[in-house]
């Protein structure tokens, strides 16, 4: 129990640090982001709006500490200021849509990749030396050797451009309004297919190989021989004894991959003009949209922390040895 509490305290501290950094970084940057930014808005914004923008960014001339309190206050209200690139949409709203699409695309593909890769790893380790074991690892090592944006471009060109099986860009058709209709959802799948496939192809091999390798080490353990000698079915030995132990290191890697999900598989999203987090981040950098950047960094760090925290809890459930280490 105290182990879980300790974890929570640790993650809370990490969260505080990320908040402080997120607040300080734009203020520590060399040059004057405010000046450049406001220069671009001269004439386009009313003076009141300019003031509000300055206020929301915290460039009010108050002391740093006062600014920090103001920042925390508005944060607690869910107020991250207004986006510059998508003016006058609030940052929270911009991020919410981006986050949704990223979770949908990258989350789904990382999950699929993890599940398929790990299962294949279990299988080929169990049948090591079989033709499957001989052929799959080199194949996926080959695919994994491509940068995944390159794979994305290849897929886009072959299946989108040449064969015209899948749409070329965006998360859904331009002629559709987001709704829970069958038409819209099937369109979402069609748009997600290529980018998801490129991520899956590029990452599957990693899951498979790492699972295969730990699995083979575990298969050499005495408790596997004992389980076989106990007369348990091979399915039970494979899953309950071998895979159950071998999956633990893979899960740690999965936690980190979730971080990768939220920061958006940047290049894939750009190749497909997919409106996820990564795409937003690029937009924000291009437009020198500091509020949006700040908001994005905050969501990314927070979700990485949350994912790892959840995984730690899962670990406590899955590995009894962590429970007593407290």
């Amino acid at each position: 129990m105290s182990y879980i509490l300790k974890r929570f305290v640790l993650y809370f501290l990490a969260f505080c640090v990320s908040l402080i950094l997120n607040f300080l970084l734009p203020r520590l940057m060399p040059g004057d982001p405010v000046g450049t930014m406001f220069a671009r808005f001269k004439g386009r914004l009313s003076p009141e709006a300019m003031d509000a923008l300055k206020q929301s960014l915290g460039f009010s001339g108050d002391s740093l500490l006062d600014q920090f309190w103001a920042y925390l206050h508005s944060l607690s209200q869910g107020d991250l200021g207004l986006s510059v690139a998508y003016f006058p949409t609030p940052v929270t709203e911009v991020i919410a849509t981006g986050l949704w699409w990223t979770l949908w695309l990258a989350g789904l593909s990382v999950l699929i990749s993890f599940i398929i890769g790990t299962s294949l790893g279990i299988l080929i380790a169990w049948r090591r030396g079989s033709w499957l074991d001989q052929s799959l690892p080199p194949l996926f090592a080959f695919l994994g050797a491509f940068p995944y944006f390159w794979l994305a471009m290849l897929l886009l060109w072959v299946f989108g451009f040449q064969l015209d099986w899948f749409p070329l860009r965006h998360a859904y058709g331009d002629d559709l309004e987001p709704s829970w209709s069958w038409l819209f959802i099937s369109d979402m799948f069609r748009h997600a297919a290529l980018p998801a496939l490129s991520i899956i192809l590029a990452t599957l091999g990693g899951w498979m190989l790492s699972m295969r390798n730990t699995m083979i080490t575990v298969l050499g353990e005495d408790y596997i021989s004992l389980a076989q000698a106990k007369g348990l079915s091979s399915k039970q030995v494979m899953l309950r004894y071998a895979a159950r132990n071998a999956i633990l290191p893979n899960l740690t890697a999965f936690g980190m991959a979730i971080g990768f999900v939220v920061s958006g598989s940047l290049l894939t999203e750009i190749v497909f003009s997919y409106p996820g987090q990564g795409y937003l981040l690029v937009q924000a950098v291009r437009a020198q949209d500091y509020p949006l950047m700040q908001g994005l960094f905050l969501t990314i760090t927070t979700s990485v922390l949350c994912a790892n925290c959840l995984l730690d809890l899962l670990y406590v459930l899955l590995d009894p040895r962590t429970r007593s280490s407290s």
């Binding site: 105290s2 030396g129 004992l226 309950r240 159950r244």
Partner: protein, 577 residues
């Protein structure tokens, strides 16, 4: 023993081959076990003895059909309860496995699935096997044919745990929460749960310290008398076998040399190898004592002994700080020791008694909580680590396989201490390293010096470790169980080597061990450590002949008797009482 019955297990002409890797042309099939035939009668304890690598474990894996690829059974039959284990289908085999033929695996440390609690590991095997069969065998009187309920299964498990003197509390624990001895008992209970006809025990006690070893074997023998199963015991502990087994099979290089009763073996150990094994397991008491005597008589009797190392009131307390509370664990309490030049002090104790901690303090890997350590006249400064002291104290570790970095040659391992401790110049360093190798009996040295550790056997590696420890010309050598990972036949040579080096260089040796016979053979003095306290200390001969402290008495009693007929008779009478 009724020999007119059909044997329980009849193995004939077993051959196991490790197939060559097809992708590598230059490898060849390797026949690991060849033409092995023996049988086991009902209620018999049949022991298989041999060095590691002789094919014992391969043999059991073949019998259980749990060989890992590329190993395959390439010939032979194994009749068990009327069917050939090598021919029957997997599902038929799975029914026989455990319900009639179970296993107590080597190193119980890793034999239990770390992520399942003990109950779950009983449960899966109970659920798997024929429930009807089970209810017949269980001691529960009910004659139900329907599946026994979870409660009834639990009762059965608890009963079995009681047989091995464990309480029901262990069921909800996970393997890592149990001590080595408890885990071993759990695996024995697990092997007994379906009341099998034959239990294969693969080195069931090697990982444990002597006292626990003794207790566990007592439990096993008592259970055999109560429940009437047969045992196939795999071991390299010959004294144990000679005192307990009904028949012994001796294996060497994949072949079964001989099957005989212990009495026959001792009376006429016709085969050289057997004589060698029997001799080696006695540990070199006569030789060692002889050479010690000559040394002592050569020295003037009343010469004052020089103290090399002195520990005064050493205390070590580990503080564990968790988030809210801190706990203390006293590992060493007021330890006083004196070690003389040219002498060996054996530090004997069960695992967890603080032996290794004491060694770490002497090595300055850790600092004592209080107390003083003197090297010669000078006191070790607890605040700073002094290289001059490190030069004078060197260590030989337990595991020769882990103690040498596999990516460096032997030359590298020996030259580094020579240079670090500035024993010689860079020009002489190779010659020095060669000389060191010669001095530990690795001769001709130039054949060994450029090899990598993996190209040496365990015994040779341990010699390299000793040479490395000698490189800085220390005054004190600390050897932490230097022979426990080696085969019996190698131990004697290594111990003799250590003894010879001590006399040659007038070193002091602190020998850490839980093996009393080693201590007996090598040490001038012994100190018995129990729970961080030295409970008895004195001349080896006195301590062993007349142990005072109850703990020492238990230790001495747990030494497997040197195999002679009267002793083995005695031990068996012990059993029947």
């Amino acid at each position: 023993m009724k020999h007119n019955h059909l044997p329980l297990l009849q193995l004939s002409n077993l051959e196991v081959t490790y197939l060559s890797d097809l992708s590598q042309a230059d490898t060849q099939d390797f026949i690991s076990v060849q033409d092995v035939s023996f049988d086991i009668q009902e209620g018999e304890l049949f022991a298989l003895v041999g060095e590691s690598g002789c094919g014992k474990s391969t043999l059991i894996n073949a019998v259980l059909r749990t060989l890992n690829p590329p190993g395959v059974i390439s010939g032979g039959q194994c009749f068990f309860l009327g069917s050939d284990l090598f021919q029957i289908t997997e599902s038929k085999l799975n029914q026989l496995r455990w319900s009639a033929l179970s296993l107590v695996p080597q190193s119980a440390m890793n034999a239990l699935n770390p992520v399942l609690n003990i109950w779950a590991q009983f449960q899966d095997v109970l659920e798997k096997h024929d429930q009807q069969d089970l209810s017949l065998k269980s001691s529960m009187s009910s004659s139900q044919i329907e599946q026994p309920s979870e409660q009834e299964l639990r009762t059965l498990v608890v009963e079995t745990l009681e047989l091995v003197e464990l309480s029901a509390d262990v069921l909800k624990l996970y393997p890592h929460e149990l001590s080595g001895g408890m885990r071993q008992r759990v695996t024995i209970a697990l092997a007994l749960i379906l009341r099998p006809k034959l239990i294969i025990m693969d080195e069931p006690t090697t990982a444990l310290d002597v006292i626990v070893q003794h207790e566990i074997m007592q439990v096993v023998l008592r259970l055999r008398d109560e429940l009437g199963f047969s045992i196939l015991l795999i071991t390299h502990d010959l004294p144990l076998v000679l005192s307990l087994a009904d028949r012994v099979g001796i294996m060497q290089k994949g072949k079964l040399l001989k099957v005989a009763t212990p009495t026959q073996l001792l009376l006429e150990p016709q085969i050289d190898y057997i004589a060698q094994l029997i001799h080696a397991s006695k540990i070199p008491i006569p030789k060692a004592l002889n050479s010690k005597l000559t040394i002592e008589s050569a020295l003037p009797k009343h010469q004052a002994k020089t103290v090399t190392l002195k520990a005064k009131n050493l205390v070590k307390i580990y503080k564990q700080k968790s988030f809210w509370k801190s706990t203390q664990k006293t590992v060493l309490q007021n330890v006083n020791l004196e070690l003389y030049q040219g002498e060996t002090l054996a530090l004997v104790g069960a695992s967890g008694s603080g032996k290794s901690t004491l060694a770490r303090l002497f090595m300055q890997m850790e600092q004592p909580t209080s107390g003083e350590i003197y090297l010669g006249e000078k006191r070790l400064d607890p605040k700073k680590v002094d290289r001059a002291f490190k030069t004078q104290i060197q260590m030989v570790f337990q595991d020769p396989f882990g103690a040498l970095n596999p990516i460096h040659t032997i030359a590298y391992h020996l030259q580094r201490p020579l240079l670090i401790h500035q024993v010689c110049t860079a020009q002489q360093v190779r010659a020095q390293a060669l000389a060191l190798l010669e001095s530990v009996g690795l001769s001709p040295a130039h054949e060994f010096i450029d090899r990598y550790p993996h190209a040496l056997s365990g015994g040779q590696r341990q010699r390299v470790c000793i040479a490395r420890a000698l490189a800085s010309r220390p005054k004190l050598l600390i050897a932490d169980e230097p022979t426990s990972m080696l085969d019996v036949s190698l131990r004697e040579d290594l111990l003799l080597l250590l003894q010879q080096l001590i006399q040659e260089h007038q070193l002091s040796l602190l020998l850490i061990t839980h093996d009393l016979s080693t201590a007996q053979a090598l040490a001038d003095q012994v100190a018995i450590l129990d729970q961080g306290k030295i409970v008895e200390q004195g001349l080896t001969t006195e301590v062993f002949q007349n142990p005072q402290h109850p703990f020492t008495q238990r230790l001495v009693k747990a030494i497997p008797q040197t195999p002679n007929l009267s002793a083995s008779q005695n031990l068996r009478e012990d059993q029947s009482v």
